[in-house]
Symmetry: C2
Subunit: 202 residues, 2 copies
Amino acid sequence: MTPLAMSALALLNERPMHPYEMYQTLIQRSEDRIVKVRPGSLYHTVNKLEELGLVRATGTEREGNRPERTTYEITEKGNLALAERIAGVIEAPEYEFPVFPVAISQAHNLPRETVVNLLERRLQQLESRRSEIGAGLRKLGLTDLPRKYWLDVDYLRSQYDAEHRWLERVVADIRSGELDWGEAKHAAHPGATSTSETKDDE
Amino acid sequence: MTPLAMSALALLNERPMHPYEMYQTLIQRSEDRIVKVRPGSLYHTVNKLEELGLVRATGTEREGNRPERTTYEITEKGNLALAERIAGVIEAPEYEFPVFPVAISQAHNLPRETVVNLLERRLQQLESRRSEIGAGLRKLGLTDLPRKYWLDVDYLRSQYDAEHRWLERVVADIRSGELDWGEAKHAAHPGATSTSETKDDE
DNA sequence: ATCCGATTATTCCGCATGGAATATTTCGCG
DNA sequence: CGCGAAATATTCCATGCGGAATAATCGGAT
């Protein structure tokens, strides 16, 4: 079950809805900070959930002359599956192949000072993300709600902090020479004087 | 450019190869810990890189009577693009929607003790992951190489540590009551003798 | 009153990914 | 020396997701 499926099921667990209403609700609650949600995917997801018997269509109303909208409700099976999925995800950490480690593992192809600059820019960006998180929290009035309801933010902040510290440490270590950056052959670095040779004869 | 495309380009930046050789090399270097790599996707990826003019086929040899293998080399443009992509990823942090936050944001649907148990199991799993990382490092003899070449491991470890501390803190806070887990209506919890649905009580 | 644009609600298409299928060849084992 | 298993090298197909297209209606400015 994909993240979006989890969110969709969770919504139907509150009350029956039609897909577009789920979309609105997710956006309004700013859950799109945590799940990737696009209208198209949502419909697809709900369809799949129906095939799996985790939700069922209760009926199709039409208001005015707008397109028909199909309302879905969660099934007993769906309720079960949701809880099991949540439990499964929490219980067993799974690596999800973020890009940053890939890039950092190849940073040795770039020259020292370039890397230092890039890392410092990242630091700045992280700072502003951090403050956005805080601002968003307050804007949503989440700070009034018990912590139970924003554990995810709490978690993400701790991850953010760790990355922040790591970046600062690495930058310092490169600067100080503690982390040696033996300049070998590099890949071309952006901004290098490149003899632009473009061959596209296919 | 997807992570796999980055890895492929990086390999071709070392020397020309045919896709299967890239596959072998990635596996042998255990880069599949960091990039998701499946033979199928690799061929597809290389094709796309060719269309984009970032790599070019140098020729097709055949050894014995095995299927023909097409060797590729990186182009000037490819070299440039690789460096730019690496720089771009490092420079600008991008959220990649991991599942754990989604699950944790819905954990309030599960009963207190269940959650505590799940979090504790996760802690254990993380422990063993951690030791595996260390073991893998030593097995590959990476510890001899300068730190420059295993910055990714370094980073991942710091992330791991942060999560570890977060989990311990949260578990402690739930246990102590510091983090209140007001037991409201729950979704069915796995292993519960669930009877009817939870529709009407708010 | 009317026209423009945003909102409502959904469908459709393309593309990247993963898994399986294919076909040949070498290797291990008795 | 011969049989099956693993390795070599690649293609093919089902699937899920994101972005764009569609189509009707509502709100707001002139």
